[in-house]
Amino acid sequence: MTTADPILMSVFARTFKSITDEMSISVQKTTRSPILCEAKDFVTGLYDAEGNMLEQTENLPILAFSLAPVCRYIREFFDGDIHEGDVIFHNDVFSMGNQNNDVAVYRPVFHKGELVAWTAVKGHQADIGGAVPGGYNPNATEVWQEAIRIPPVKVVEKGKLRRDVWDLIFANIRLDIVQHDMRAQMGACTIGARRITELLDKYGLETFQVHKEALFEATRRMMEAEIATIPNGTYSGEGMVYFDGHHQGTEFTIRVDITVEDRRIKFDYSRTDAQTDGFVNGTFTSSASATILTLLQMVNPDMPHNEGMVQPVEIVIPEGTILNASYPKATTFGNHLCPPNADAIIRALAPVIPDRVTAGWNNLLCSLTTGVDPEKGDKYVDIGFMGLKGGSGAMRGTDGYDHIGMIDASGGVLDQDYEMFEQQTPHRLVRHEYIPDSAGAGQWRGGLGVVTEFVIGSENTQFVTFGDGDFEPAFGLFGGHDSILNIIKLTYPDGTEVVPRNKDLIMGVPRGTFYHQLAGGGGGYGDPKSRDRKLLAQEVRDGIITAQAARELYGYEA
């Protein structure tokens, strides 16, 4: 048996990362749906033969840990019936998928006839069948009202496309663009497979195996060392979910009990509220991903993202809770349970690691407009990315990040470019700016929120909202203040004002309607009276803190 060479281990680590990066660039540049190529709602990954994560490039942290569980499931499902040239699709949330819209491509990689690795790309598709275009159906109570289910299926078998299977899938999806985007994902998997084959040709399988294990081991030690700095004990926290989409006034609580024991950490969600009747439900994979990404923001950001990193982490989420719905519940909203899940974790750990947590982040409130561009006669779909991005929470020594957006993306989702927005929709942007005083006050302030206003340019516009943050603002910590609430408000041309619920579907919005949205800031950290006066002077001059707020909250006379 070869022993690991520390130098070669570094070479492998660097090469794995460059492979998943290369796959990622390929997907970003070739897909057509804006949620893939602009919002980058996809992840690329590399797995060993057993489905252990070697490396990944996640553009959205919420997808970060959603591929490995499926990879293992697929391996078991096909039970050896995996061949060179196979390509497998999957989205099913009841076989370890995370969200119906997130469809994954898996490609096994063979070396001298032996299965040695997998390449995979999971991306959020523009449509996935179901009752409502785009997949967000606030009225859904069962999975079939949301999406077509794709349990593991070979669309390419030994290099030959199965036209029948392909057509069966895409006959159930509204937009042709999805076929092209899935082809782009397959292309990226091929690129990754090519590179891993080159690596194996050069170093041989045994060297690869030995160094892969050594790499897992090194990363596991890194994570264990981080956990060891948290005092042993059990810490509890809560996060709130408001409105299930069906019953006005409903509230649900996510409860986490975090137990640290030397070099291991356990997240136990057993006391979390039961699942809802609607689509406000998580899947195990999406909820566990949320847990891991929140944890990762509390440790060394340079840690490699491979199997070793998750080995010291245990996550318990009983089936039937809002974070792990049972078959056949609707679950499309599940990824957006990340913010309250993160809130619960932060609240639990803030007293023990006060220097490593942030205050609360602005929660997502998103809108989606669909209609026909009267000038072009074309249908458009627009996800309002720029409107939904509020501020992050402050931490000791660092202000929150302005206009970053929800923690599940952590700055990975970008605004539409304003001029491209006006080309691709009939809307006209009126305002997209920081909101003064939207940052939770503190010695370190929260990130700023933004106001977004535009005039809707299509008749009979269909309008969907999904999200939260309009009942409870991002919270402050250690004397820092809360931020402001999210809100979306429509003013029709006749003066009628409509405030949609946070999960809503409104038909027939007329042309000329004025759209107004506030995305709140992040929570502040520490006593605002202790904030650096020089910074305050600049912020008052720049108009992001008003003179009045400076006086009343910060005790600073401009």
Partner: protein, 705 residues
Amino acid sequence: MSYRIGIDVGGTFTDFFVTHPGREPVVAKVLSTPSDPSIAVIQGLTEIAAGLEPSLTLDDFLGQVETIVHGTTVTTNATLTRNGAKSGLITTQGVRDALEMRRGIREEQYNNRYTNVKPLVPRYLRAGVAGRLDRNGAEVEPLSLDDVRAAIELFKREGVKAVSICFMNAFANPDHERAAAELVRAEMPGAYLTVSTDLLPSIRFYERVSTTALNSYVGPILDHYLNQLMGRLNEAGFGGVLLIMQSNGGVMSPDVARQKAALTLLSGPAGGPGAGLEYARAHDQTKCIVVDMGGTSFEAALVVDSPIMVNDGEIDRHRIALPMLGIHTIGAGGGSIGWIDEGGLLRMGPQSAGADPGPACYGKGGELPATTDANVVLGYLNPGYFAGGKMTLDVDLARKAIETHVAKPLGLSIEEAAAGMYRIACTNMAQGVREVSVKRGFDAREFPLVVAGGAGPIHSCLICDELEVPLQIVPRESSILCAVGMLMGDLKHDFVRTFVSPLAGVDWTALGAMVDAMVAEGDALLAEEGVAEADRSHAVKFDCRYLKQYHEVSFVVPREALEARDVDAISAAFHREHNRLYGYSLEDEDVPVEIINVRTQAVGRTQRPEFRREPFAGTDPAAAKKGERAVYIPERREFATVPVYDGHALRHGNLVTGPAMIEEVTTAVFVGANHDCVTDATGSFVMFRKDRADLAAHILKEGTR
């Protein structure tokens, strides 16, 4: 009037390359003078004049200089150190924060201590004014001149030196911007002004406002520097033509540079790729990958007929959307520091020891082990012949640094640790080469690697082994390649206009008129710069995409296809490029193609220096052999005694069998165990894999002619 000089001002050294018909080119290096870089320029020119046979006074020498091409990093440094001009921005009401928001990106998603970059214009100097154009350029609301006046008053009060103007949808109609500009010119005649549609009349608001603000930020700095430089040169008797290097690999007159200062922002390494191509051409190759390893960074660029261009550059996290060479820079150089991460993995860089204190072996107080330290331990650098003997390297200090920070923590010997550092540095650089080749759809194996930078050729054999690249060319002037490249640069001016339309059914009359106008503009600029008509040419590119894609693919539109209005031929060119870049096209699916931008490039050919051509001197290198020493052979994982050759004494046809070392004053070459090296007629060292001797056969064959 027959000298031509390329001058490359870098952070540490200012490099000179001087040509004169019928004479050996002169290579010189002096220490840079960052507070006023023109001092080093004059100093270097004085030294060169004195060193000529017979020696000349600076005045006499400059009197005979026909052209100086000058590359400067003053704008780059001003941006990186945040020492640009105090700037104001006049923009559309409601979107004044776009510049600071940068579309809401946080580059490090798991790092909650990662903060946004400070905006180039502070918020209180970003004035939103009323007035609005729709997406087609039609006026929705007239421009409020009162608002513009109020902004001007604010700027005057605050002592603003540079003003930017950028309005929503101005790419479709520049009228509002022009009206505002007129007012600024009248009220603030001394201020530097950038109007977005003059600089970059293309769609995408954030990219335009960022590029415009960058131009204003560095404009006054460049203006001031050019005044200093031209003053000193003229004073010293220079009466020739001064040209300025741009980020697109071309050159421009100082007047154009003053207007479009942002064109110099990433011009530092822009001379390299064009120069590399000339050395590859000496071997009938029309493509190559050019790499340049300096003290802190490693640059890689790809050339196919001409250097590959990109339109999505960035400096210090600010977008700059002007066309520039696709040069990929990573933090890997001679000064890159080796360290062990928390998981016990050896990493190299991006932290660098810089020039001061520098690697441990410099003996200037540096205690951390750098790539150069590893190279000393492994025998690749001769401690007594560094910079031709001007500086002595301390082997013991190098060993100590490596032992403390790498060998002990990893449980390795000092030699093993040094070999590991060398190995990781090469892996990092190989990844840098992949960025510009594999990731852009090119197979690196098909390209010769042109290697520049003093330490580049020590590492290039291992880089090539990793990438399976069989052929390398190390130019004799490799340590000052960018300065050479400055004399290879043509006058180049890029133009872009947004023209959104489906390709099928495009309004050819309107499109043709736009292209003609852009070509005419470029032609007039070249005429102004004194380029003869026969030396001017114009290329047309479209940025197209499949309907509803978000990212465009830029491709050359054949002139015949454009004139014949041949949609099929243009579409085919687009499908081909898309397929090459991304492994597929949607040609068979009949997905409509749309145009977003039209680009033209006006090129004024400049006179190129001629390479020397040495006569064939036989294959035996024995006359150049100056000794032997032990160096580390990576393939064998052990030291071996290899011959050392004096590079200056190697002649055309001399064949050096690897492993071996070749030393020059400014460069060391390690010929790996898998490679051999032959000197070509221009004096370049051509290294080839032992199993690919066919690649160098033409050099050896010259001897039989």
